[in-house]
């Protein structure tokens, strides 16, 4: 199914408030189909909350369209079935299940009860393909809880692939990874973006410079700047937020200036 349709994400004037505190304050952004868009910004800028709003975890006003489908107002599992997949800052694979079982479950949201009542036999094609893509074919029968940190993150991405997500929202996918693991993850993102749209929340600026195709900078719930890596780096407002902010002054090794 993936590959048939390559859709872009269109966020219009999205607002999220918790008890009077406005976490996302009128964000609009367009992520064209097949992009690898990085969302960056200081802590509390509203990056994760924006993803929460897109995936239905928090209530929001405004409009979020993926392709032709309006996402806001739908329950989480319905949004997921429209082809939107996400990962979380903390790994959330099912540790008591094997890698294979994790992927099989991710692949199965459209299965009927008759299939569910039967035992899994063999490995579905899309699961086998994903195992190869994320490089965990060797560990298919291992419990997900025994994987290394980086491998868990790849399993998460693999779950999005078999889930047939056409929009991947990744929340800090390389946090805590070694250099080699980061490189591998970046290569993986480039591979999957061939027929998918990818949005990445990331603090790692080196990773961003290498793999971002476009960048949106959020600050205090608003879009501060948008463009290519070079454009964003050159934006004086971005430099001010990262370097001139009184709180962050001297303690913001963002690498943006490099």
């Amino acid at each position: 199914m993936s590959g048939d349709r390559l859709d872009g994400l269109s966020v219009r004037d999205v607002r999220v408030s918790f008890d009077g505190f406005t976490a996302v304050d009128g964000v609009s952004l367009e992520v064209p189909a097949g992009d690898i868009r990085f969302l960056i910004g200081p802590n509390g800028a509203g990056k994760t909350t924006l993803v929460d709003a897109i995936t239905g975890l928090v209530r929001a006003t405004g409009s979020v369209r993926f392709g032709a489908d309006e996402l806001l107002g739908r329950p989480v599992h319905r949004i997921s079935r429209l082809g939107i997949g996400r990962t979380f800052q903390t790994s959330s694979v099912f540790e008591e299940l094997s890698v294979l079982q994790n992927l099989d479950i991710a692949a199965g949201a459209r299965r009927g009860w008759a299939t569910l009542a039967r035992r899994r036999r063999g490995v579905p094609d899309e699961v086998a393909a994903a195992l190869e893509t994320i490089g965990l074919a060797e560990r298919a029968e291992h419990l997900a809880g025994t994987l290394a940190h980086g491998q868990k993150q790849w399993l998460e991405i693999g779950m999005l692939l078999v889930q047939d997500a056409r929009l991947l929202l990744l929340d800090e996918p390389v946090a805590g990874m070694s250099h080699e693991e980061r490189d591998a993850t970046g290569a993986l993102l480039e591979t999957v973006s061939r027929d998918r749209t990818v949005v990445v929340i990331e603090h790692d600026m080196d990773f961003l410079r290498r793999f971002a195709r476009s960048v949106t900078v959020l600050h205090a719930g608003r879009v501060l700047s948008e463009g290519t890596v070079a454009q964003v780096q050159a934006d004086p407002r971005v430099q001010e937020v990262y370097l001139g902010h009184p709180v962050d002054a001297g303690s913001a090794p963002t690498g943006l200036e490099a």
Binding site: H77, G85, F94, E95, L100, R110, L116
Partner: protein, 396 residues
């Protein structure tokens, strides 16, 4: 169904050479072992027990096996699904009362009324809601379907509102309390505190006859084996894997496109049906159903047996339930009054030191052997610790 990325030649993700995915199930041998296990269980229940045990002990075992049926259901709902069902007495009671009502009506004959109604009912005729139970074609399916329907109604309300954990446990327990109060309050039509007692016949067979008691025992043993087979299929099916995923990451499952409420609902309804069937068979085995047998205390006792045996395993709940029920009889024969304390102590010890129950000792021993397969379905203290460390999906 889905064609994923036309497998990239090399994404350099893992330096290790990628080999073919091993088959998920090595084939016929586990199936053979299962068949052998069932044959062994059947031999034990159908040949050894009737030979070794006196009629009295055999009828006690019949009673324990009914408790074990409830335990199989709790193992699915709680062990695999994470729903701590502290009110299974409700479903056990619904099944038990449905069966007892039918048997009382059958005892009374076509025109008669159950004895207790004439004693303190001041009723001239059978209450309307009793009437359908005169027919076995209604009463027998009702013993299973009625509890399932109640569980369905309750579960649909509760799971969609994301009531879980301790709140769900308290709610289910409150339901057990409410049911008991209702039964006691309606003495004229339910028998009140006494319940429905003095049941003499079972579809034409005299229950005082030891031969017929033995037959009831065989029916119960057979039903338990059938429920175990059903539970096994459920646990090993894709649904069973999904249920564990919902237990360990309900929010995560939602983001994969499932509605966890319906996944949990199925397990809850199945567990209720098993408890109902157990209640229905309990009645001919013991000859009575009463509020004291289905209230809060028996509901908790059902859970204790499951916890002791090992909630996430197939056989753990059954063995635990039988062991605890047997210990209860044995110990209260010798030291009446101390059993309640012992039972409480047992529960605390198991929860604190052996959360996987006695079954996890077996798993631990096998792991020490080094023969354990890498992917294990069991529930062990080690795995549990890992699960506890796993952080929840951030809610908002």
């Amino acid at each position: 169904m889905t064609a994923v990325t036309p497998a990239p030649p090399s994404t350099a993700v893992d330096p290790a050479p990628v080999s073919a995915v091993p088959p998920s199930r090595p084939g016929g041998r586990p199936r053979l072992r299962t068949a052998a296990g069932f044959a062994f269980g059947a031999a034990l229940l159908f040949a050894v027990a009737p030979l070794v045990l006196s009629d009295f002990r055999l009828s006690l075992l019949a009673k324990y096996l009914c408790v074990a049926m409830v335990a199989v259901g709790i193992g699915i709902a709680w062990g695999r699904g994470g729903m701590l069902t502290l009110g299974q007495g409700v479903f056990f009671g619904l099944g038990g009362y449905a069966m007892a009502m039918h048997l009382k009506l059958a005892d009374a004959g076509p025109a008669g009324m159950p004895d207790f109604m004439q004693l303190y009912g001041q009723l001239d005729e059978l209450p309307l809601w009793w009437r359908p139970f005169a027919s076995p074609w209604f009463a027998l399916p009702a013993t299973v379907l009625l509890p399932m329907a109640v569980a369905f109604g309750l579960g649909s309300l509760v799971f969609r509102r994301r009531v879980r954990g301790a709140y769900f446990a308290i709610l289910s327990q409150a339901l057990a309390a409410a049911m008991v109060i209702l039964l006691i309050g309606q003495q004229g039509t339910t028998g009140g505190t006494n319940g429905l007692t003095d049941i003499k016949g079972f579809f034409g067979y005299d229950l005082d006859d030891p031969v017929n008691q033995r037959m009831v025992y065989f029916i119960i043993a057979g039903t338990l084996l059938a429920l175990l087979a059903l539970a096994r299929q459920l646990i090993h099916s894709r649904y069973g894997e999904l249920l564990v995923a919902v237990r360990d990451g309900e929010e995560r499952v939602r983001f994969l496109g499932y509605d966890p409420a319906s996944v949990k609902l199925v397990a809850y309804v199945v567990a209720a049906g098993m408890a109902g069937l157990a209640g229905a068979l309990f009645v001919p085995a013991v000859g009575i159903i009463s509020p004291a047998l289905i209230g809060i205390v028996p509901s908790i006792e059902f859970v204790i047996g499951v916890a002791v045996g090992g909630r996430a395993t197939l056989l753990g709940p059954v063995l635990g339930a039988v062991a605890v029920a047997w210990a209860r009889t044995a110990l209260s024969e010798r030291f009446p009054g101390t059993w309640t304390y012992l039972q409480g102590l047992l529960f605390v010890v198991v929860v604190a030191f052996l959360p996987g129950g006695l079954a996890s000792l077996w798993a631990l021993a096998r792991r020490r052997d080094g023969s354990a397969a890498p992917a294990r379905r069991g529930w062990s203290p080690l795995a549990r610790r890992r699960a506890a460390r796993r952080t929840e999906v951030p809610a908002a």
